[in-house]
């Protein structure tokens, strides 16, 4: 049985052992071979390659574990802020309703994404939804423009929709997110882009493992009045008395801008939460994969090591038995 085992070892070794020539060619240091020479020309199978792989996989596992911890702590910090800001957009939807299927001439799609990568598929989902909205709202006399927040969406959208991009804003999370910063951004967007409907695409944070792509629609004042008059699903704004200001339109304009900045604030926070959550789960699965790979490599390493010991033993024993005759 031992001989059978040794024979099996020999067979497994066959692809590893390269045929040797009498004129032993020294392998160049640039190409590590599986064989190296010991004293008296005894052959050892080298475990160097496997050992190097094990070391690098272990380092990767440590790095991804650390990244997961960092993402978890960042998530904790931003999650309370997000939950507190959830009350901000609800009054607007309660007043004006939500009409994502509004048929307008000038659509603006605001895509919110992250600056850093390694966060799973959330940025690709946002970009796919944005492209879907673009397709949905395409037609004669209709146009859709993009406003991009974040590097990742910029990289993906610049490739095929470059002419449709109006504004690109990056490095949003350099300072902790706050309402002042977002309202300045919203002001910039409203000043520079003509719009009838603004559609904000982001990932809503439902739980650490679930991120729902969502689109919030903010309609300009004229469209709101048009939809209300046509008896659509929007509430009739005429039933509301508008206090103050010279004209009703002025107050409603302020309302639309305020609604946009509030919805943007919530959207940016939710997306940041989703980013950290997605990064946590991506890094977690990556560490687990690295652990699996390390287990498999350890087995290969042990097999290689045992095979080389066995080869040595065989050679010694066969040499000794040849001497005895």
């Amino acid at each position: 049985m031992a001989m059978a085992a040794l024979r099996r070892e020999g067979r497994r070794l066959a692809p590893l052992i390269s045929p040797r020539t009498i004129t032993a060619v020294r392998s160049s240091p640039l190409y590590p071979t599986l064989e190296d020479e010991g004293p008296l020309g005894v052959r050892h199978i080298s475990t160097q390659v496997v050992r190097n792989r094990m070391k690098s996989v272990k380092n990767i596992q440590k790095i991804t574990k650390a990244m997961k911890m960092v993402a978890a702590s960042k998530l904790r910090a931003i999650q309370t802020k997000t939950e507190n800001s959830r009350g901000l957009w609800q009054p607007f939807t309660a007043l004006l309703g939500d009409l994502p299927s509004a048929d307008v001439k000038k659509n603006v799609v605001v895509t919110i994404s992250s600056d850093k990568g390694l966060c799973g598929g959330i940025n690709s989902t946002s970009v796919k939804i944005s492209k879907g909205l673009h397709k949905l709202n395409s037609g004669p006399e209709k146009e859709t423009k993009y406003v991009i927040l974040g590097e990742k969406a910029k990289a993906q959208l610049v490739r095929d929709s470059k002419k449709d991009i109006e504004l690109i804003i990056t490095e949003l999370q350099k300072n902790p997110l706050n309402y002042t910063q977002v309202s300045v951004l919203a002001d910039e967007i409203l000043k520079n882009v003509e719009y009838d409907a603004l559609r904000i695409v982001f990932n809503k944070f439902q739980s650490v493992v679930s991120f729902v792509p969502t689109v919030s629609t903010v309609l300009s004042t004229e469209i709101v009045e048009r939809e209300a008059e046509s008896g659509g699903k929007l509430v009739d704004l005429d039933s509301y008395e508008v206090e103050g200001g010279e004209t009703k339109g002025e107050i409603l304009q302020n309302l639309a801008e305020f609604q946009f900045s509030c919805t943007m604030f919530n959207a940016v926070l939710e997306n940041a939460c989703s980013e950290q959550g997605a990064r946590m789960s991506a890094m977690d699965s990556s560490s687990r994969n690295a652990g699996d790979m390390l287990d498999r490599l350890t087995l290969t390493y042990n097999r290689t090591r045992q095979a080389s010991i066995t080869t040595e033993l065989i050679e010694i024993i066969s040499g000794a038995s040849a001497l005895e005759g």
């Binding site: 879907g132 729902v212 969502t214 689109v215 919030s216 103050g244 305020f258």
Partner: protein, 201 residues
């Protein structure tokens, strides 16, 4: 291998527990989304349509036939929900046209707020906040939504800093050259004088 199987078994119930949404988001019946969902599935059949805010909101109760006894107030700020569906007797909001008292059964109104004092009256107690600006929506079903950018309870304000700020902005207004600077200085003066009257009055 057994280790991995036991890990999977342990992970799945944890994942199921974590997949429950937070209590701040209660799913309501989506009503107006049908046209959007149809249009989406026609054009982009491979992807699920994105969710819209209506599916994350609790629907509001319809207008009752008789005037309810209490006013339900939602007072929200970007950083917190100060009051969430709280039943009160009356709120006084600083609208641009002056202090406006809101009682149950108030006519539906949209009003912009100017810097001033907001007071919430519940029974015998009264809470006062200084709000910077915002909007108030009063719905026909005696729901009032107050959305402010900043609101602080009055006892957190420092009189000396208010006086200093007022003086600073008055001098800025006199030395302002461009329209933008003038407007900014004027806003500063408005806010600080409102703060002043809130603290003294």
């Amino acid at each position: 291998m057994l280790r991995r199987a036991s890990m999977l078994l342990a992970c799945r119930p944890i994942l199921a527990a974590r997949a429950r949404p937070f209590s701040t988001d209660l799913p309501a019946a989506p009503s107006a989304d049908a046209t959007f969902t149809e249009a989406w599935t026609k054009v982009i059949p491979n992807m699920d349509p994105p969710k819209t805010p209506l599916s994350f909101m609790q629907p509001r109760p319809p207008t009752p036939s008789s005037i309810p006894s209490k006013l339900t107030v939602n007072f929200v700020l970007p950083y917190a929900s100060e009051l969430a569906t709280k039943e009160v007797d009356m709120v006084i909001v600083p609208a641009t046209t002056g202090q406006m008292g809101v009682l149950p059964g108030h006519v539906a109104t949209i009003a912009e707020l100017k810097p001033g004092v907001l007071s919430v009256h519940e029974g015998s107690e009264m809470t006062k906040y200084f709000v910077s600006s915002g909007f108030v929506f009063i719905h026909a079903n005696s729901f009032a939504d107050i959305i402010a950018v900043e609101a602080v309870p009055l006892d957190r304000l420092d009189v000396n800093l208010v006086q200093k700020g007022l003086a600073e902005f008055t001098s800025k207004l006199s030395s302002a050259t461009t329209d933008l600077e003038k407007a900014e200085a004027q806003i500063g003066i408005d806010v600080h004088s409102a703060l002043n009257s809130a603290l003294t009055g």
